[in-house]
Symmetry: C2
Subunit: 491 residues, 2 copies
């Protein structure tokens, strides 16, 4: 590896060696009209910016297949999508423009869980990759140091024929200290991931690549988009309090939580609020460890307060303030914060090994414990399944936390039957709303329904849900449903 | 370990040391009226027989919670269930009596995927276990050698306060040579599973236990039930041929299949037929390896023909003839056949590492690729989700293979919307029926629907499915559905 940084702290300078530095327009011209383009980016950060904008601004008749492993910023999911250049897209998106294009079926969208996308692209036959376009803080002839997220970037770089690197001077070189790049070998001779704990490092600060792939390096100083979170609502705080009560009892229950508890929280304002509330929870001397997908501001608070041992994730989903705080002190945070590829941060086997308590939200849940986290009314995509499927399936204890209503209480998020299922009745252990906690472990479907209705649904909607369950039970069966009536539900 | 067999071949005798040998009635009397009982048994073999029968025959007012990790035989799922002793049951069942009790909700049934049940019971808070009742071929004061299946037995024995062992002289001692008992450590300090290939051995032939737990040893010579499979139908053969065509192309496509292909097949007559058809498939010099859940007769055929390197599973789901064949030559088969606990045989991380091509069936699929493998009409339980969720989620290539119709062609298994989802649209890559192959990798939901309708649905039902899709698309959305119309579907 020619000049790759062996000590991330000693990295100086952005460009190393003899590189094909060019402008964004020239780099974009390398991308074929119907190319399959794999981009870095996860949690709306660490994605390439200038090359997508140059593609959007070109007058070519583009029909791209664009794959990112998580959500990216507006340069891709607004400008490039609006230009009509994207024919096919995967996976996860978070802009209203990309959402509309998906729901209008102008873009053919496919959605896979975050841990799977690297392998699906590289080995699984999902696409036939042409070029990877990635953001870096520094690049050499056969290595680059990623910026604010990792996602499936290492797999994408291995899978693509060509590589374009955007070196972003708005991202501090110090980010190198956060990365732990470990890409598992190809199956079937793939060894176990040799990680003994979420804070361990088993890889490098850089992504290595075949130097023959590097076709362009573009320089930029265009910053990432950052997150904005609303202040916690009363519902958020009540959910957090209910979750805290559950967690306190759960830690006493299982020997798996005797010395330490490993947590994961889904992204969003609720997730951020839940992380914030952890500050007040009594952990009884246990080590608190975060093994999740995204670093949110609340985790920095916990680290600063000495209440968190370490945090492992694949992306920095921070507010502008949180990003400034981390950037200003990145070496210190790097002692306890590790960014990993998504196929490590979200790996089923690791979530299992660490006995994670996974807490994720949803659009709606049905009384039998099926969870819809992607499609309103079963038809209209919101964002994508992301990593929620990884944690909901593989966590030792799986919690679905959500407000019991939306639209100011007009619409119940607890429904008789959800018409899109992202997480099945086999997966989630505990439901938490501002109303209470339904622990459905070991319960039959009808018992589960009774618990969810009485503990989690809003009191205003409980009579209707009880009536549905009562009448459906007359129809018989292990999971009694009246589908026609469920289809007419407007609670 | 006092006298535990270090060399499985040298095991002689059934009872070793000072054991609390007693009759089944006395052992059953140790089980409290409302006990939570964990039993061995998977694939309808290797389950305890006399103690359940004694419980069924008692005149006590029993209200048991009964947990097995897979299906068991009629002594439990007919006699014990019919006696009214079982109040609560998990997971998977296969008798018509247990099915009726589940659907009539006389038994509160909970269903988890096979890889999860051990951890859910031991650490996850699903039940509070009292006594494990297991079948063995031999027992000592702190060890026993399991019989024809492993399932979650090691976890169950660790989790329960007390242990009752049934030593079954109808099961040959030579079965010891098949077992590789490795129970992962407790999370969060659970290391990776150190298995480098499906044929490796990393554990012992016996299950170790705390000698203070052993409260009774019962002797029996009552044989397992065995499987009966129907002869392959024309549909089975057409599905097998279509699968073979797909596999042949797929092996050429991905570097992950360059030297070897790792296969898993779901159980049942179709699965057995598919395994049989592999005999005729050209693997181009690649090693063929089985990393699955159940050993069926077809795998013995492949081993005998020298077409299979090795087979890893958790149970011997053989016909009487297959069982006889294996029992007669168990040491030779043990060179290439390994039985593992279900949390190893079905482990997400191992399925991922070996790049498995998983082939499982279903009750029905919907046009958008959601799979129902448990509940007819969304309400009436057939068997349980078993290991299908483990392989469908974690295989490198996931195939759902099923006939396009049932009941002699009267009912389509391809429907507009399935009202119970065991495997989501994010999980399955390829659908195969006797009509053809729908490879939906990288496809949008509407493209997926078009492929499934045109390639997999029965020609007689295609016009109705096309009409559904056409009209639903007018409603808009990423996954266009007309739920009320879907609820009225009677194709």
């Amino acid at each position: 590896m020619s000049g790759a940084p062996t000590d991330a702290d000693a990295l100086d300078g952005r460009l190393h060696g003899d590189l094909p530095v060019t402008d964004a327009g020239s780099a974009a011209a390398i991308v074929a009209d119907d190319a399959t383009v794999l981009t870095s980016g996860f949690g709306s950060v660490g994605y390439p910016k200038l090359v997508p904008l140059a593609l959007a601004d070109s007058d070519r008749d583009l029909s791209l297949t664009l794959v990112s492993s998580g959500n990216v910023g507006e340069e891709i999911d607004v400008s490039l999508v609006e230009s009509g250049a994207v024919a096919r897209r995967s996976t996860y998106q978070s802009s209203s423009v990309a959402r509309a294009a998906t729901n209008d079926r102008e873009v053919a969208f496919t959605d896979r869980n975050a841990s799977a996308i690297g392998d699906e692209v590289q080995y699984g036959g999902m696409v036939d990759p042409d070029v990877a376009v990635v953001e870096a803080v520094a690049v050499g002839e056969d290595w680059f140091v990623p910026s604010t997220s990792l996602g499936a970037t290492p797999a994408f770089v291995e899978a693509a024929d060509e590589l374009i690197v955007e070196v972003n001077r708005a991202q501090p070189l110090g980010l190198a200290a956060l990365h732990d790049v470990h890409r598992p070998d190809a199956p079937p001779d793939r060894g176990p991931i040799p990680l003994s704990g979420p804070g361990d490092r088993i890889g490098t600060a850089h992504v290595a690549f075949d130097p023959g792939k590097l076709v362009a390096v573009v320089e930029t100083d265009r910053p990432d988009s950052t997150y904005t979170f609303r202040d916690p609502t009363d519902d958020d705080l009540a959910i957090a309090a209910n979750l805290g009560t559950f967690l306190a009892a759960e830690m006493e229950r299982s020997p798996a939580f005797e010395d330490a508890v490993h947590l994961q929280f889904g992204v969003g304002s609720l997730g951020n609020a839940l992380m914030g509330e952890l500050m007040d929870l009594e952990f009884g001397g246990r080590d608190v460890v975060y093994f999740g997908e995204l670093i949110q501001d609340g985790l920095l608070d916990m680290l600063d307060a000495g209440r968190l041992e370490c945090a492992s994730a694949t992306s920095l989903a921070l507010t502008a303030e949180g990003q400034e705080r981390l950037f200003a002190d990145v070496e210190r945070y790097a002692e306890d914060v590790v960014l990993r590829p998504a196929d490590v941060s979200n790996h089923a086997g690791l979530i299992d090994r660490f006995g994670v308590v996974g807490v994720n939200s949803a659009i709606e849940v049905d009384v039998y414990g099926n969870v819809n986290s992607t499609h309103v009314g079963g038809t209209r995509m919101i964002n994508g399944v992301g990593g929620s499927a990884d944690y909901n399936r593989n966590s030792l204890v799986t919690v679905c936390a959500l407000p019991s209503t939306l639209k100011g209480g007009e619409v119940s998020r607890v429904v008789p039957m959800t018409f899109h299922v992202d997480h099945t009745e086999h997966d989630v252990d505990v439901f938490v709303t501002e109303q209470g906690v339904a622990d459905v472990r070991g319960r039959s479907p009808v018992e589960c329904a009774q618990l969810i209705i009485e503990q989690c649904a809003h009191p205003d909607v409980r009579p209707d849900l009880r009536a549905y369950l009562r009448d459906a039970r007359e129809g018989g069966g292990h999971i009694p449903h009246d589908v026609k009536r469920a289809a007419e539900w407007d609670g």
